[in-house]
């Protein structure tokens, strides 16, 4: 038994001198939080299509559960060992992943954060993302404009993502409150506001089950809630169910962010009042293009003017446009939706 083990180790060590990577073409890695969420599925499709078009190979990795930092670290290590040219990553833990990203950049890989900026944002070579603050601001403004004078006495439920306050959740939350006209205090944290209109901050994990429970908890605090901010559309659908259970689904304004196809359909059906649509497919395909460019001549991607990332755009989807807030129709939103 010992001999076998030593033998294996010996072979391993002796082969160490040889070249690390095989001679092969440009390759890129896509690392997402999970591979079950339609948002990431769409991202993968966008990346795969672009990679095929450009003739580079693409490997996709994902964590087993949301928040799985360990699996993402292992994936980055694999990409380095595999000799990839660049990595596109949607980080599960934006701060904890940084040492691994540094390692990849030291090894000469281009690292682009997709959708979720790292903490700090300049830990990656570039960030291709939705302006989540703007996404929140759009629905905040729309909700305030739609309510008119009642906005001053609104009762707001904030259905957030997770207690660990991932940046994406904080940006959307604080954007919404800013758009609605609430003083957000520290813009890097949700939950520290003292505006009496905010009834509750609950977390949803971004799914239906969590959305429903969170809404029920908020209604227990104050059954008169009339504006509901939700981190994403599945959470909004869950909140709607909780409201429907007490017969209040028609007199509460629900707003959300994402723009997934089921979500846009929910806007059409009146479940959600308005949603800010983002474009994951574009993030991924632009990311693959940037890696191909970098592999060819070392060019680094540039940021959108005035921002510290490349903004892939966001549109407000609603069939009840409000004055002073630019929006697209549900029909157009359906054409451009994902998932």
């Amino acid at each position: 038994m010992k001999k076998l083990l030593i033998g294996t180790a010996l072979v391993a060590v002796t082969s160490a001198g040889s070249a690390m990577a095989d001679a092969h073409g440009t390759s890129a890695c896509l690392i997402t939080k999970t591979d079950t969420n339609p948002f990431f599925v769409k991202m993968r499709e966008g990346a795969a299509a672009k990679a095929e078009e450009l003739g580079i190979s693409l490997n996709s990795y994902a964590g087993q559960v949301d928040g799985d930092n360990e699996a993402q670290v292992a994936a980055i290590e694999t990409c380095i060992a595999n000799g990839a040219s660049g990595i596109l990553i949607t980080a599960s833990d934006t701060a904890a992943i940084v040492p691994s990203v540094e390692q990849a950049r030291e090894a000469g890989l281009l690292v682009i954060a997709l959708d979720t900026p790292l903490n700090p944002i300049d830990a990656a070579d570039a960030t291709f993302a939705t302006d989540n603050f703007l996404a929140g601001e759009l629905i905040g403004k729309w909700a305030a404009a739609t309510m008119g004078d009642d906005a001053a006495t609104a009762k707001i439920a904030m259905l957030d993502l997770a207690i660990s306050q991932p940046t994406v959740g904080v940006l959307r939350d604080q954007g919404f409150l800013t758009g609605f006209g609430v003083d957000v205090k520290d813009v890097n944290r949700w939950g520290d506001e003292d505006d009496a209109r905010i009834i509750c901050n609950e977390v949803t994990a971004g799914n239906e089950e969590g959305g429903r429970t969170a809404m029920e908890n908020c209604l227990a605090v104050d059954p008169e809630i009339n504006v509901v901010y939700t981190i994403n559309e599945p959470a909004a659908a869950g909140a709607y169910e909780a409201l429907a259970a007490i017969g209040r689904e028609n007199d509460v304004l629900i707003v959300s962010v994402d723009g997934g196809c089921p979500g846009v359909q929910n806007v059409a059906d009146g479940v959600i009042g308005a949603t800010s649509q983002q474009y994951p497919l574009l993030m991924a395909s632009l990311g693959v293009e940037a890696i191909a460019q970098y592999a060819e001549d070392g060019t680094l991607p540039a940021n959108t003017e005035g921002k510290d990332f490349l903004d892939t755009g966001v549109s407000l989807v609603t069939d009840r446009p409000a004055d002073g807030v630019e929006s697209i129709s549900v029909a157009e939103g359906t054409d451009r939706c994902w998932g």
Partner: protein
């Protein structure tokens, strides 16, 4: 030797030098294989491990079969490897510990926050973290051996308690690598590495191997180790034979808790950060049990070798790395590991049937 104890002399006088022994009646190739596997419980996982390395080596060539990649696998399994060592101890006593991963994460948070929030020297925080691990282990042990709550229930509860404490105590703050590097380098000690050729061995990997070797020695060659096996095999018989079952169980759970805390230290070294939402807290228990089971250790207690658990962890690591490098959908990895678990236990049953 007194006269009353020299009952074997009769046989010796007759020239029969062999005393009570199991007869090996089985013949043929299969019988020999079964016997060999029964005597060396870590052999099956070792064969699978070597085969897997060879297969992926052929499939992926130098990218996989290089010292850099193979030692990278060791780095990737170091946390699960240490947790599996802890899990093995409990499973050998016919118990199970669902709190291992969560306890490791809580210990990382304690080590980190005592340094940064309370301003203690990092070395002292480290010590407090290790003691805390042992303390939680002692609580588990007391509940199992004195209060007689089944290990599964005890640790199911403790798992939730520890997870919740982690979130409450940490206030969900991630301590970042830059903070740790500047102010608490000793917490990152196990992340340092020695490089030989292209092979990189982090101190965490070396510590994992030392733990496995030390436990293997203790289990095989000390009275304590034999008591652990005896308690796992049949606690009543062990009691009648003069083994202090309570003390043995307590020592096993305390040691398990301590090793979990060490796993926490290894974790800080590997990720250079302290994250209360680390997924080890949620899936570390399942990962360690998977390694133990693939390693051929019987969940019914009293049988198996700690090397098996180490090989089990390595097998999972090799499959994950190999399939990732090949660009396979991660779900294939989980599917394969599922099949390995069932295969390993099936094989275990076959070996037991033969030896019964």
């Amino acid at each position: 030797m007194t006269d009353s104890q020299s009952y074997e002399d009769v046989v010796k006088d007759k020239g029969e030098t062999q005393f009570a022994q199991f007869e090996d009646e089985r013949k043929g190739f299969l019988g020999t294989v079964q016997h060999t596997l029964h005597v060396n419980p870590a052999l099956v996982p070792l064969i699978i491990l070597v085969t897997a390395i060879a297969l992926f080596g052929m499939l992926l060539g130098q990218r996989f079969f290089s010292a850099g990649t193979l030692t990278l696998i060791l780095q990737q399994v170091q946390i699960v490897g240490v947790l599996a060592a802890a899990q093995t101890l409990v499973i050998l006593t016919a118990g199970i510990d669902l709190s291992v991963g969560a306890l490791a994460v809580l210990c990382t948070v304690i080590m980190g926050q005592f340094t940064f929030r309370y301003g203690l020297p990092a070395e002292l925080s480290l010590l407090i973290g290790l003691c805390f691990g042992a303390l939680v282990g002692a609580m588990n042990g007391f509940l199992v051996s004195r209060v007689k709550i089944p290990p599964f229930i005890t640790t199911l509860g403790m798992w939730q308690i520890v997870l919740a404490s982690t979130y409450l105590f940490s206030r969900n703050e991630t301590l970042r690598s830059s903070q740790l590097r500047e102010e608490a380098p000793s917490l990152l000690f196990l992340g340092n590495k020695v490089s030989i050729g292209g092979a990189n061995f982090t101190f965490g990997v070396i510590l994992m191997i030392l733990i496995v070797v030390a436990l293997a020695y203790a289990l095989r060659s000390t009275a304590w180790g034999r008591h652990v096996y005896a308690v796992g095999d049949d606690p009543e018989a062990a009691q009648l034979a003069g083994v202090n079952v309570h003390k043995t169980l307590m020592s096993v759970y305390i040691l398990t808790g301590l090793i979990c805390a060490v796993a926490g230290w290894v974790m800080i070294g590997r990720f250079s950060s302290v994250s209360p939402s680390a997924s080890t807290g949620v899936i570390g228990n399942i990962q360690s049990i998977t390694a133990v089971v693939i390693g051929g250790i019987s969940l019914f207690g009293g049988r198996g070798s700690i090397y098996g658990a180490f090989f089990g962890a390595m097998i999972v690591g090799v499959f994950e790395m190999g399939l990732r490098m090949a660009g396979a959908d991660p779900q294939w990895t989980f599917m394969l590991i599922g099949m390995l678990i069932i295969g390993a236990v099936g094989l275990d049953q076959w070996i037991r049937k033969v030896s019964a």
